[in-house]
C-alpha cells in the first residue's frame, strides 16, 4: 500500500542546490562577503516520563540566538496527532518543520487508512527522514503518545538513531534534568508525582543551563485525551517595564524637508464590474 506523502516524495540522494548559492554569497567578491545568519537554536531542556496512565512531556520556553533570548514563550511541545506529541531540541526551524511534516503525513495516513496512527509509526517516519539527511537537520526529538498498544516514549537523534525509553531528557540542559529523573523516577507513578518530577527536571535544567529558561510547559497524554498545560509554572522574574519607552511626536527636531514628485505614467486602465448578488 503506497503511502501518499505531503510535499515532495523521497528523492534519492541529497539535494544540495542551495549550497552553491550559499558558497557564492559567503565567498563572493572581496567587499561583497555576506556572513550567513546564525540559525535560532532552542538551547533547551525537554523531558518526558511514562507513568501509570500515559505519558508526561515537559519543556522550557526559551529560544536563543547566540546570547540573546529570541523568544520568551516559545512552544517546544509540538502537536503530531491527537494522541501523539513531540518535544524538540536543536535548531528551532528544523524541529518546527520536521514535526509539521510528520503531523501532516500522519493525518493523511489516518484519512487514507481509517486508523489512528501509532507512536511507533511516527518514530519510523522521523527516523527515515532524519537518516536521509545525514544529520543536516538538527532535530533532537522526544516523542510521546498513547495508542492502542499502550503508552510509549521514544527519542530520535539528528542522525536517525532511535531508542525506546521510560524516561528521558534532551537539549543543552539535559544533564541537570537527567540527574533529577534518575533520582526520582519510579515505574507506574501516579499523575501528580509524574507532573512534579518532569516539572522539577525542567526546572533543574533552567537553573543550570544558560540556554534554557522562562516558563515550564507540560503536556499530559492519556487514553482519554491530552492536557496541554501552558504554562505549568511561570518564571518568577517579572518583566514589567519600569518606564514608558514611547517617544512623543516632535521629540526629534526636523532640520530640512525635500519633496520629490515621482513621475508616474498611466499605461493601461481596466474596469471590471463585480457581480454583487442581492442579499
Amino acid at each position: 500500500m503506497a503511502l501518499s506523502c505531503v510535499l515532495e516524495p523521497a528523492l534519492s540522494g541529497f539535494n544540495f542546490e542551495n549550497s552553491t548559492r550559499n558558497n557564492v554569497l559567503e565567498n563572493g567578491s572581496e567587499e561583497g562577503k555576506i556572513k550567513a545568519p546564525k540559525p535560532m537554536k532552542t538551547g533547551t531542556t525537554i523531558a518526558g516520563v511514562v507513568y501509570k496512565d500515559g505519558v508526561v512531556l515537559g519543556a522550557d520556553t526559551r529560544a536563543t540566538s547566540d546570547e540573546v533570548v529570541a523568544d520568551k514563550m516559545c512552544a517546544k511541545i509540538h502537536y503530531i496527532a491527537p494522541n501523539i506529541y513531540c518535544c524538540g531540541a536543536g535548531t528551532a526551524a528544523d524541529t518546527e518543520k520536521t514535526t509539521d511534516m510528520l503531523s501532516s503525513n500522519l493525518t493523511i495516513f489516518s484519512l487514507n487508512s481509517g486508523r489512528n496512527p501509532r507512536v511507533v509509526m511516527a518514530v519510523n517516519i522521523l527516523q527515515d527522514m532524519l537518516f536521509r539527511y545525514r544529520g543536516m537537520i538538527g532535530a533532537n526529538l522526544i516523542l510521546g503518545g498513547v495508542d492502542c498498544t499502550g503508552s510509549h516514549l521514544y527519542t530520535v537523534g539528528p542522525y536517525g538513531s532511535m531508542d525506546k525509553v521510560p524516561y528521558l531528557a534532551m537539549g543543552s540542559g539535559n544533564l541537570a534534568a537527567m540527574g533529577i529523573l534518575e533520582d526520582r523516577f519510579k515505574v507506574n507513578m501516579d499523575l501528580e508525582e509524574a507532573k512534579a518530577l518532569v516539572s522539577d527536571a525542567i526546572h533543574a535544567g533552567i537553573m543550570s543551563d544558560l540556554g534554557s529558561g522562562n516558563n515550564i510547559d507540560l503536556c499530559v497524554i492519556t487514553k482519554e485525551g491530552v492536557d496541554y498545560i501552558r504554562p505549568h509554572r511561570e518564571s518568577p522574574y517579572n518583566y514589567k517595564r519600569q518606564a514608558k519607552y514611547k517617544y512623543k511626536p516632535g521629540t526629534t527636531p526636523v532640520l530640512s524637508k525635500t519633496v520629490t514628485q515621482l513621475e508616474l505614467e498611466l499605461v493601461h486602465e481596466t474596469v471590471q464590474k463585480m457581480e454583487t448578488g442581492s442579499s
Binding site: 519510523n124 537518516f131 544529520g135 539528528p158 542522525y159 536517525g160 538513531s161 531508542d163 534532551m170 539535559n174
Partner: protein, 217 residues
C-alpha cells in the same frame, strides 16, 4: 548535542560496544552489552537494544553508528521479509547476511556500521556470519566484534570448544562479555543474550550486578 562531541569518528550516537556470537550443539547464541555512547564520555543510553530480530530465527547484532546500523537493519528486515514471501519459505541465514553485506558494501563511503548475523535455518542449521565495516562477509564458528572485543580475543581463542552444550556456551558468552565490559569504557550495562535453535528463540538478560566477577574488588 554538540556538547558531547569530542574526537569520536562516529557522528551522533555510537554503540561503542562488545558483541559476540557462538555456535553450540543445536543452535547459536548471540550476545551484546547495552551501552550507547556519544563521544568518549557520555553514556546516552544504558539499555539500548543491539540484538535486532530480522526474521523468525535470524538475529543481527550491531556495532558502530547507531543511526546507520538501525537504518541498515530496517532495510534488511524489509528485503528479507519480501524475499521470504517470494520464496514461500523461511530465509536462509546466508541470505540475511548477504543482504546486509550488499547494503554495507554499496554504501561503504556513507555508512559506519558492522554486524554479526546469526541464526538457524533448515538447510545448514546454526550459522554465524560477520559483515564488517567495508562489506566483507565471512562465516565463522564463533566471532566477537565492537570496541570491547579487543580485550577478549585471548579469552575466546583459548576457551572456545566446538560442539559445546547450551549451558557451556551460555557461560562462555557471559564470561566473555563480562570481561570485555570490565575493561572497555564504552561497553557496559546489562548483558543481552539470545539463544536461537530449531525450536525457537529465547532471550536472556543478565543484569550488571549478576555478572561473573573477575578480581573486581
Amino acid at each position: 548535542m554538540e556538547t558531547h562531541h569530542s574526537h569520536s569518528q562516529v557522528k551522533g550516537v555510537s554503540t561503542g560496544t562488545t558483541i559476540l556470537a557462538v555456535k553450540f550443539n543445536g543452535g547459536v547464541i548471540i550476545g551484546s552489552d547495552s551501552r550507547a555512547s556519544m563521544g568518549e564520555s557520555y553514556v546516552s543510553s544504558k539499555t539500548i537494544n543491539k540484538l535486532i530480530q530480522v526474521h523468525d530465527r535470524i538475529f543481527c547484532c550491531i556495532a558502530g553508528s547507531l543511526a546507520d546500523a538501525q537504518a541498515v537493519t530496517k532495510m534488511a528486515k524489509f528485503q528479507l521479509s519480501f524475499h521470504s514471501i517470494q520464496m514461500e519459505s523461511p530465509p536462509l541465514v546466508k541470505a540475511a547476511a548477504s543482504i546486509m553485506k550488499e547494503l554495507c558494501y554499496s554504501n561503504k563511503e556513507d555508512l559506519q556500521a558492522g554486524f554479526i548475523t546469526a541464526g538457524w535455518d533448515r538447510k545448514k542449521g546454526p550459522q554465524i556470519y560477520v559483515v564488517s565495516l567495508g562489506g566483507m562477509l565471512l562465516s565463522q564458528p564463533f566471532t566477537i566484534g565492537g570496541s570491547g572485543s579487543t580485550y577478549i580475543y585471548g579469552y575466546v581463542d583459548a576457551k572456545f570448544k566446538p560442539n559445546m552444550s547450551l549451558e557451556e556456551a551460555t557461560q562462555f558468552s557471559t564470561n566473555a562479555l563480562a570481561l570485555a565490559m570490565g575493561r572497555d569504557n564504552v561497553s557496559g550495562g546489562v548483558v543481552h543474550l539470545v539463544v536461537i535453535t530449531e525450536a525457537g528463540v529465547k532471550h536472556i538478560v543478565v543484569p550488571g550486578d549478576k555478572l561473573p566477577k573477575f578480581h573486581d574488588e
